[in-house]
Amino acid sequence: MFHAQSRARTVDLLGGGATFPYPLYSKMFYVYWKATGIKVNYQPIGSGGGQRQIITRTVDFGGSDAFMSDDALAKAPAEILHIPTCLGAVVVTYHLPGRPELKFTRSLIADIFLGKITRWNDKRIGEINPDIKLPEMDILVVHRSDGSGTTFVFTDYLSKVNEEWDTRVGRGKAVNWPTGVGAKGNPGVTGLIKHLPGAIGYVELGYALLERMPVALLQNRAGRFIRPNSASTSVAANIPLPVDTRISLTDTLSPDGYPVSSFTWILAYKEQAYRKRSMEKAKELAKLLWWMTHEGQQYAESLYYAPLPDEAVRKAEELIKSISYDGKPILE
């Protein structure tokens, strides 16, 4: 009797945060709703909003492309877990006649965005792309004008591979760009690059593939030039991960990994018994997270995201198993 009643009552889960994984989450939550009848409402309000809302406990889970800083975690009323759900990559794309496939070394790409290399026929570009006839054109740098996780991942990479970038500009969702023009969102940057011969910029991998933009091969720490795609992005996370999975994957140690990759996380409280939340809700959340990191992974690739490698799935499993209600683990 009681059982039937509780089944009839639907538990809705509310989440909000990063816009980057939104298309994947929409797909996942739709499939999950079809299969289980559990409705998950996710608002793509940005990573900053996701972190704020989980701290104020206005959502059941937050979404973020950047892991929370120690300072931010200290502001939260209880321990927050970072569950990785998939990976994304930021690619360098450009507008050149003939759509050549260019290679860039680690420091070269930073020097272009620093405004130190201003012509496409610069000999430093020519040296690593000997088979390509580079045009005598100005390099027009295009970056994001809005604060963005994409910018964070890209500038984080530049900071790691180029000392001058690190000291002069640094990493952030919005930075003081030394050169170039800004456009809003991935669509804005893509649009501007398409309109500007000689332009170079960075967008999310999925966006570049969807818009059929040429993408550059970037040199990783092992010295290999890696073509960005789902597989090379996943491999970037195939390294020993910390227990809480809070790690920057840019300039990864993984020898076949694409160097500008990043996790995106779901943020949830480890102890779920707060603010009169029902045990049922807590249980549904844990089940959802388990599903997203397992069965849900199959939807990643077709939407141009990179699925979690085994190492990351194992770490996610441990984290989800540690979720408790009144101190007792929810999933056995």
Partner: protein, 307 residues
């Protein structure tokens, strides 16, 4: 005496119920009017309060510093202040001859008829187009034109920048400048114009020497309205100005405006000082608009007294 009588009469003529309705009506409109004042005051107050951390940290240097660096948390608003003023006044300059011509043409030459109402409707329609559409149009049509021009001049051919933003702004504000001008020009008394004609003035002379001076204050009011619109415009500008937080060094240089930087960075600004600095830019925009409005009022008064 007279007043007393009429109020007595009113008491006799209107029933108590009528009078109660009357006073209720009066109170309602007073309240609605006051609500606007309260709203204005609270917006101003909340802007001041939320920009306090930034005012405390940077003081006056916020207004003349040209560095906007969210990483090192150094914020100065000069590039945005300059960008806003530059694009707005440039847009006004470009739009002035066109809007004046439209208002004279519809207000004086073709006051009636199909052509006049067609022109009038088209200019007014311009005001109704959402700014994102203007932005798209500018991106697809204006930017390539400006870029070709820049390539010929030999400057960095970004296509986006101060000039492109001013051009699209000028198109957007034409209807505002033109509509009031047209109304006032149409209102110039016929006898004054006839008097001028009687003295042997040509039509051009009547327009430049009689109609325009008479309608001066109205035309100025229209221009001010247009300027106000240009100062606050966000979407179309942000799509074509280049969003570079640098001091614009030429017409073709990319830049940024106050409204545009707020729209761009507010959603993902997490640091307290970053948010607060954006708020202070909002406050600055609020003040700049207010100052220009007050100045404008003064100018209107001045020219209308002379007329």
């Amino acid at each position: 005496m007279m007043e007393n009588q009429s109020s007595n009469k009113a008491e006799i003529l209107f029933s108590r119920q009528d009078r109660r309705k009357e006073s209720a009506f009066q109170k309602t409109i007073l309240l609605s009017a006051l609500a606007v004042v309260v709203l204005f005051a609270t917006i101003f107050l909340s802007l001041v309060l939320s920009s306090f951390p930034s005012i405390e940290a940077f003081g006056l240097s916020f207004f003349y510093s040209k560095t906007w660096d969210p990483v090192s948390k150094t914020f100065g608003s000069l590039p945005f202040l300059l960008g806003t003023l530059l694009t707005s006044f440039l847009a006004l300059l470009i739009c002035l001859p066109f809007s004046l011509a439209i208002s004279v043409f519809i207000g004086e030459y073709f006051t009636k008829g199909l052509l006049s109402s067609f022109l009038k409707n088209v200019t007014e329609l311009l005001a109704g187009i959402p700014s994102v559409i203007y932005g798209f149009w500018a991106l697809f049509v204006l930017v390539p034109i400006v870029r070709n021009f820049e390539t010929k001049l030999g400057v960095l051919p970004y296509g986006v920048g101060i000039l492109t933003a001013s051009l699209i702004l000028s198109v957007m504000i034409v209807p505002y400048a033109a509509s009031i001008g047209r109304e006032v020009i149409a209102l110039v008394p016929a006898d004054i114009k006839e008097a001028a004609y009687a003295l042997g003035a040509t039509r051009r002379e009547v327009i430049t020497k009689v109609v325009l001076p008479y309608a001066r204050s109205g035309i100025t009011a229209g221009i001010l309205l247009a300027l106000g619109r240009a100062l606050g415009e966000t979407m179309a500008v942000t799509m074509v100005i280049g969003n570079s937080n640098i001091l614009p060094h030429s017409l073709f240089s990319p830049g940024n405006t106050m409204a545009s930087v707020i729209a761009n960075e507010f959603t993902e600004a997490t640091h307290r000082l970053h948010v607060s600095s954006l708020m202070e830019i909002g406050l600055l925009l609020f003040l700049v608009t207010a100052i220009i409005n007050i100045l404008g009022r003064y100018v209107i008064k001045k020219v209308s007294v002379e007329a």
